[in-house]
Amino acid sequence: MELILSFAIGVLTASGIWLLLRPRSFQVIIGLCLLSYAVNLFIFSMGRLTLGAPAIMPKGGFIDPTRYADPLPQALVLTAIVISFATTALFLVVMIAARGFTGTDHVDGKERELP
């Protein structure tokens, strides 16, 4: 399991980084989305992988923490998901506004001069 998930994180990260370095703004936005998946999974995996544990605790009584998934990374990732949505939206708007103003979707606002 761990091997699969770390492989998945690796692939998501690599695709994200590659797109981040591309010249078209849409590529960058997709790259950022992929990177945010990778980062969320990475943070989540810091709490180790727990299969089949109950998500909800009983009302009262003794709690054995080892029987539950680590809640802290989950709480962190939950907010991260919402924030990454917000930043994606902001970036998208900047992207289409820049496209309207500059007439191109190149990240620099102008096409690269050809030699």
């Binding site: 399991m1 770390s6 797109l19 989540f44 998500a55 605790m57 907010t79 309207g100």
Partner: protein, 961 residues
């Protein structure tokens, strides 16, 4: 003094310090028509408080209040009142009251009255803070605060370029001076061993004898000179004349510029008494008096003339502070009071003339005494006071100034030259005062005006009349009105050894009177000789008018703020994004590598779960989607978007698989809105039909290969770290505490939700605030959005079909989507209420609700939805924030820290046990905000197609015409 009475006085002092700020908030919250009333009442209340405090500060007594701020670090907020600050504070509130009255008339019918009065009150509070601070660092804070408020006030009419420029110049000059002052105060504090004002004032000998004295002196003087518009920093003051006139009347008579001379007089016991002090302060003061006075004669703008005359008069006060003898301090304080009175009156008169005639240009005015006799009379009194005509207040303090200048102090060349310089300065002030009166109120009307001049209403006349009456009263019976107050003020500055002086009109035929007479005769002669050529000449003295400090400053700012940074950029930076990002990624990879170097190791016994074929298969698809999205994002955006969604769904399933249902739910919902968002954005991007030029060049290929290496290394690195981390045994951490206490402390069984809304609610609060900011930013960005010309055209798909077909397009799904609205509302409510105990919560509910609205937009069109549904997302955002903050502050009522939650189960009829923690109310705020923000973003983007349609119709109309 009785201890009880002492406490009462201290409370009054506290109230006095806080009153203007509280009133400012009140004004900002109340309707516009109440603004002037509240502002006036607060000024009047301040005067009452000061009157009650007066007995506590007579005969050099000091009233102090110590407020603890950070007691552990020895930081306090002491307030301090003595005779000098009492007199000054009274002046500020008194003139403030008159200015507010005047502004009620002057600003009537103008926009933004509440903002105006709130800023004015804020400024008053900052000014009073300078006067009342008992700690020299606190003083600097208020000092900078006055700079900020004056920036906002000068630029109040920010639509005009002159107002913006003037405000910016004023801020740059005075705030830079404030920074110097801060440094100077730090040096003084180090020398004196304390930042307490009283301690600093009594360690004068130690400060002036210290090797760092000249540094401290220079820094403090830069602060004072910039504030008081002393040469060579004087140029910001004329620029600040683009402020509304009531602001000028307040800032340039009793407050802002007087803060500088207040500082000089206040600190003269600590820093003064040396030759360096005398030469620098008196020298600059006299230079300013001469230059300001000279330029003032030539100004054609009424307010410009007054601005330079203010500079000149401030020079006079500065020079007196530099002399520093008890008599000079007394004269300086007296002149501060007198100048505030006649200058406020004159600025108000200038405003009245401008208001009633539509111009401030002296050349276009004339003969106004026929149409505005009362205003003319008052202006003549105030101008005569400025010129120093006997029986008016200006005469008395100017007489004292001339007497001080003629007296022997230290025998330096400057000391010897003082009487001559003083007379020349007085000559100028006589000349500009006469010019002001003669050109505006006498002679023939100069030409047609925009308005027929007439007397203004009572609100604008009364303050001027009171001030002019004050000038007259002080001039006639000085001892009766201000004598003891001024003497008390001087006593509290100079301290022991100060002998109260009787201020009298007639001292006999002495040196000062002779100098005064000379000044009058020469001044009148100067005006007579210049009067013919003044209107046609340049606005400045001969030769000097080419050299403008403002121009020098502007040129310097241009170089510093634009030319040099550009040059630096071209040397060391690039404007292109790709190299920057590449650098960032490579640096991150290298940094991570360096950190792991040598220290990286896998655990000896790796923990882990069994291999699952299904999970592997799932991520095979996920990885394929990610790589596919990366490959297709350039030419096939839609395909890339679909594959991105695939990767997102696999992520979502992973969360569900690995015991994190909350994350799975949220990820799924966010996935939906993200995809819709990106779909909406696709429409505005350029079509890609053929390959981009240069895309297959060797250079581009090399770049791609290079990036592929970077990406692979980065991905492999992250994967390795993740694997090493996941296989380590779990150490006990704070998460266990959350698990053990979620139910007992937070009253919920869904630990993740309890963490978000209870244990770490403050973080969540910060996060929803970010969300709100982002949504508002998007909204603001899109209001100015113009699509690219080629995107305005109707999409191909729409053009190929006829109108009838469009109407029926996806009719069945759209009906179903409309029906989904109540269902989705139900689901959102369900998510919301179960959040504390079961997967769900405010985030999930908010996004669900946003999807419900979104579906309506997708199903039909913007116009149809908005005719039937009013969403008001900005209100939702605001309500959400208010609810969250309100819940947090609610715990204050019960004496707990911000956002302490209280948990309880409540049985509702039909529904059963519902967790009713206060955290639930907080979650309601989260819900409202998340929903509002999401809807705002999506609607703002969706509305762009409406705008494009409007542009299209507009273009078609143009063509058909």
């Amino acid at each position: 003094m009785e201890p009880m009475a002492g406490v009462a006085l201290q409370n009054q002092l506290l109230l006095l310090a806080m009153l203007p700020f509280a009133a400012a908030l009140l004004v900002a919250a109340l309707p516009q028509r109440m603004s002037a009333l509240v502002a006036g009442l607060s000024m009047a209340l301040a005067l009452v408080l000061l009157a009650a405090l007066a007995p506590a500060v007579i005969d050099g007594a000091v009233l102090r209040v110590e407020l603890d701020w950070v007691p552990s670090a020895g930081l306090g907020l002491p307030l301090r009142l003595d005779g000098f600050s009492w007199l000054f504070a009274t002046l500020v509130s008194g003139i403030g009251l008159l200015v507010v009255t005047y502004a009620r008339g002057y600003m009537a019918g103008k926009d933004g009255l509440a903002r105006f009065f709130a800023l004015l009150l804020g400024f008053t509070g900052a000014m009073q803070g300078i006067l009342l601070s008992g700690n020299i660092l606190m003083l600097v804070v208020f000092w900078e605060l006055t700079s900020l408020f004056s920036f906002l006030l000068i630029g109040f009419w920010h639509k005009g370029a002159a107002a913006r420029d003037g405000a910016r110049t004023a801020l740059l000059v005075t705030a830079t001076g404030g920074l110097c002052l801060l440094l100077g105060m730090l040096v003084i504090g180090q020398i004196a061993g304390s930042y307490d004002l009283d301690e600093v004032l009594t360690s004068g000998a130690r400060i002036t004898g210290h090797p760092l004295y000249s540094l401290a002196l220079t820094l403090v003087l830069i602060g004072a000179f910039t504030k008081s518009a002393q040469f060579p920093f004087h140029f910001w003051l004329p620029g600040a004349m683009s402020a509304p006139t009531p602001v000028s009347a307040f800032l340039h008579s009793a407050t802002m510029v007087k803060a500088g001379v207040f500082l000089l007089i206040r600190f003269s016991p600590a820093l003064g008494g040396t030759e360096a002090w005398f030469l620098a302060v008196t020298g600059i003061g006299m230079a300013t008096m001469l230059i300001g006075g000279l330029i003032a004669i030539f100004r054609n703008d009424l307010k410009g003339l007054l601005a330079y005359s203010t500079i000149s008069q401030l020079g006079l006060i500065t020079a007196l502070a530099g002399i520093g003898s008890p008599g000079a301090i007394l004269a300086a304080i007296f002149h501060i009071v007198n100048h505030a009175m006649f200058k406020a009156a004159l600025f108000m008169t200038a405003g009245t003339v401008d208001h009633q005639t539509g111009t401030r240009d002296i050349r276009r005015l004339g003969g106004l005494r026929r149409t505005m006799p009362l205003t003319a009379t008052l202006a003549i009194i105030a101008s005569a006071a400025m010129a120093g005509v006997p029986l008016l207040n200006g005469f008395l303090s100017k007489e004292m100034f001339l007497a001080e200048s003629a007296a022997w102090h230290n025998g330096t060349a400057l000391d010897a030259a003082l009487p001559y310089l003083a007379v020349v300065g007085s000559v100028f002030s006589v000349a500009y005062s006469i010019r002001l009166v003669m050109a505006v109120f006498f002679g023939a009307p100069a030409g047609p005006l925009l308005k027929m001049p007439s007397e203004p209403g009572l609100a604008m006349t009364l303050p001027v009349a009171l001030l002019a009456a004050g000038c007259l009263a002080v001039g006639l019976v000085p001892m009766l009105i201000v004598g003891t107050l001024v003497n008390d003020a001087a006593l509290s500055v100079v301290g022991l050894g100060f002998m109260p002086e009787k201020i009298a009109i007639w001292h006999g035929f002495n040196e000062a009177l002779m100098l005064s007479i000379i000044a009058f005769v020469v001044g009148i002669a100067l005006w007579l000789s210049l009067r013919a050529q003044l209107p046609s000449g340049p606005e400045g003295p001969p030769l000097l008018h080419h050299l403008r400090a403002q121009t020098v400053f502007d040129r310097g700012m241009l170089k510093l703020g634009w030319v040099y940074p550009r040059r630096m950029m071209s040397w060391i930076a690039t404007e292109r994004l790709q190299p920057q990002l590449r650098l960032l990624v490579v640096a991150a990879v290298l940094a991570a590598g360096a950190a792991a170097w040598g220290a990286f190791a896998f655990a000896e016994v790796r923990r882990g779960n069994d291999f699952s074929g299904g999970f592997a298969l799932m991520w095979l698809v996920g990885a394929g989607c990610a790589i596919g999205a990366a490959a297709q994002a350039k030419y096939h955006r839609f395909a890339a978007l679909v594959m991105l969604g695939g990767a997102g769904l696999v992520t979502c399933l992973t969360f569900a698989w690995l015991s994190a249902p909350d994350l799975a739910v949220t990820q799924l919902l966010v996935e939906v809105v993200t995809t819709v968002l990106l779909l909406l954005g696709l429409r505005w991007l350029p079509q890609r039909r053929e390959a981009i030029k240069g895309d297959n060049s060797a250079q581009a290929r090399r770049r791609r290969a290079q990036d592929l290496v970077i990406a692979t290394v980065g991905g492999a690195g992250v994967a390795t770290v993740a694997y090493a981390m996941m296989t380590r045994p779990l150490v006990r951490n704070v998460g266990d505490w959350f698990l053990a206490n979620a139910y007992y402390e937070g009253g919920g069984t869904n630990v993740v939700n309890v963490i978000l809304v209870d244990f770490r609610a403050f973080d969540t609060f910060g996060e929803i605030a970010v969300l709100a900011v982002v949504a508002l930013t998007i909204y603001a960005l899109l209001r100015r959005f113009r699509p690219a010309p080629e995107s305005i055209k109707q999409p191909d798909q729409q053009r190929q079909t006829n109108g009838r077909m469009l109407d029926d397009y996806l009719l069945v799904p759209s009906v179903i989507m409309i029906w989904m609205f109540p269902v989705l509302m139900m689901i959102a409510a369900y998510f919301f209420f179960r959040g504390h105990d079961l997967p769900g919560g405010g985030f999930a509910a908010g996004v669900t609700m946003a999807i419900a609205f979104l579906l309506q937009y997708l199903a039909t069109n913007v116009r149809w939805v908005e005719a039937r549904l009013t969403v008001l997302p900005i209100r939702w955002i605001g309500m959400g924030l208010l609810i969250a903050v309100g819940t947090g502050m609610g715990s204050w009522v019960f004496g707990y820290p911000f956002l302490t939650a209280y948990a309880q189960y409540v049985t509702l009829p039909l529904i059963g046990d519902v967790p009713a923690a206060t955290a639930l109310v907080f979650d309601l705020g989260v819900f409202a905000l998340v929903m509002g923000a999401t809807v705002l973003m999506l609607i703002a983007i969706a509305h762009q197609s409406l705008r494009a349609a409007r542009l299209r119709e507009h273009d078609e109309n143009e063509e058909s015409r």
